[in-house]
Amino acid sequence: MTTKVKVISLIIVVCLFAVSCKHSDEHKYHTVTDKIEANSIVYKGETSSDIYNETIKKVEVKDGEFEFLIPERKSQIASYNCTECHSQPLEKLKEHKVGEKAAHWNIKLNHAGPETMNCTTCHGKNDFDNLQSLTNSEIDFNYSYKLCSQCHQDQFKDWKGGAHGKQLGGWAPPRVSNTCVNCHNPHSPQFEKRWPVRFNTTVEKERE
């Protein structure tokens, strides 16, 4: 008797298994997350975003597991090298005569407060051709993200991963992402308020 019950229950279990787990190809996965996990493979397809970024000069970012490209910066700065004008150290420049126009008079610093930041927080006191970290080490203008990440650690982490900022050209590798200063003006990093670029007058009328 008991063996009979056992055999029957075994058959039922086998049947249930066979029926419930038989999915068609389309419904093989319960969720899209399962599907993504099961089919993940580092993309090595034919499609590449390279052609869309050909004209941009790039430099490489390597930080732990992250490896990607950012636009090169120095060639984009109008009068780099800075030393072409700034031949004297900063202390000397400060002694400029009354009536003489100060350099960079049009730049207004709107980044943190004056007790936190001034020009020399980022720009070298003696070496004008490079940026300067909080501990006075040199930072190349091409890698200015290193300067920003001293304070903005969270944003830096998101940017490296791809949750902050913007990939240029396309989704396909190789990844070229904007660096901090491609979107934010370092002297006034906040995005400005503005009007939306469109207003749907027809929609407004229809809804009246």
Partner: protein, 350 residues
Amino acid sequence: MDETNKKWYSLNLNRSKKSESCGCEKSAGSCDSDKPKDGYDQIMDVSMSRRAAFTKITAGLLIGAGAVSSSCSVVGSDESKEKSAMEWEEYFKGNYKLMTDEEKDKTINRLVRSYELNTGKKINMSSKDAEENVLFGYAFNISKCQGYMDCVNACVEENNQDRTTQMQYIRIHEMEDGKGFNFEEADDNYYHEVPAKGHFYMGTQCFHCDNPPCVEVCPVKATWKEKDGIVVIDYDWCIGCRYCMAACPYDGRRFNWKTPEVPEEEVNKNQHYLGNRLRKKGVMEKCTFCIQRSREGKNPACVEACPTGSRTFGNLLDPKSNIRWILENKKVFRLKEDLGTEPKFWYYMD
């Protein structure tokens, strides 16, 4: 009609497949008599599906009318004859999903040529298929969106949407802080300086669900999910019943109530059969993740236009892609997840 080269899907409602043999145990021919048909019966007593009958009747009428008009016309140019020949072929083409590659090329050539005949301008139309190991996904950062609507403009220009009715695939909803995602009280047609104080912005569009209810309800299978996850529409197969519009829980689909109008100089001439090619009156359309761009490796127009970086597009199957990092490292959610539609469009916050 032979089942194997049929160019459409049948509904098969209350119609189970008929058995091959019937009571009289004959495998072919009619059960009534053994006599071969002749004369009148050969033509009139033919078993035919309703659709085939309609096709033949319409074809007959059109051939008749066309033949009369073109043969009698002395002024009819070669171009107009070519046009009507193409219209004829276009009229009887099948469902895109069932077309062979050759048939796809043919219909694309016809569409390109007929645009050239109508406007004198060349367009470039693609029928590029989905690539292996690609599943497209999208992420939207609601802390970053400022409501500038640059994405909406870019989308309209890229996808040749009707300008007069202001049809748009993307809606940006201005939501009040502290009220959650309250779409009923949100405003998607604001016009004031943004970002407005005490508000945040959330964009919606077609979410390209992995389990799309819109596809399920289409009675003619004019909409389906491609292998790379993009839900597309065959504009020439859509009958405009709008079932899909009703089935979509996200307001992702749009209907052409009138013939869409795009000024010739604003037409985006880089097109895809399933994407931004010009639509006609009475068919559905929606976001296709800019299929004409994404299948070439580019980002959709909205992603490219966004000045804040709120929009991320990528390959979900590539563990090194930005979108995968977001899904694995940020706190993401989707709209109406409980419906089981499995949208491939995630929202996240900083």
